[in-house]
Symmetry: C3
Subunit: 100 residues, 3 copies
């Protein structure tokens, strides 16, 4: 088992591509985008399906090396430009080291 | 980077609001609700889209301070009143301390 | 609070049952399947809703004891036979020890 970082970013759906583009540029080997039904944050409650979908959030999940995770953190200004609601990072282990 | 707790609660969709209301009252600054396609637990297999949707589960995700997480744990009786399938808590770090 | 492992597996939707069957056989008391909107991995970008749905991924989430998690790791060959994109494991604590 190999130690990695699990990066989880909650962001508006319309800004998700800015986040995944950033992950790509920083060397992440992959990412996964999950739908969100509803959420509450600093801007109040959001629910999926609002007219225009402009309020929809998604979760961007990325398993990466500590080095990539450090780059994501160092790119804080650019990342926060996508106005994510949450950026959290958790230690994990992965089955195949060659994939990350 | 700032240490926080990632609280993840799998609960019936019809009871999710009891969980998010509890998180609100305990001082959580936000939460995110994710859809679930299917699950197996103590009550057998559940699939989204069952007639009436009564069997649908969701995942409630909340990033909070250790203090808030302790309150959630201390409110165990009330939390379990919503009959969550799973309540798990993971250590994480967040990018912006002022948001949690 | 009781220490457990949070196993998260990103896998093609059509192969998810092979993963959950394996978790069942290895003694996991439950699992949850979440939908995925899009992802990038070794095989390029995938988006939900492709014709036939053959490209759809899902996330299989399983909270289990360290013993069960070890069995999952030991069953690596069988697990990887389902060609998961990602298998990651995180330490967590759970509210009710009797459920896992």
């Amino acid at each position: 088992m190999h130690p990695r970082k699990r990066i989880e970013i909650v962001v508006e759906a319309v800004r998700a591509e800015a986040v995944t583009d950033l992950l790509d540029r920083l060397g992440a080997t992959g990412w996964t985008v999950l739908p969100v039904l509803a959420g509450r944050g600093r801007q109040g409650i959001r629910r999926a399906g609002d007219p225009g979908g402009v309020d929809d959030n998604v979760v961007v999940l990325c398993i990466a090396s500590a080095e990539i995770a450090d780059r994501v953190m160092a790119a804080q200004a650019e990342l926060l430009g996508a106005r994510p609601a949450i950026v959290s990072i958790t230690d994990c282990v992965v089955l195949r080291a060659d994939h990350f």
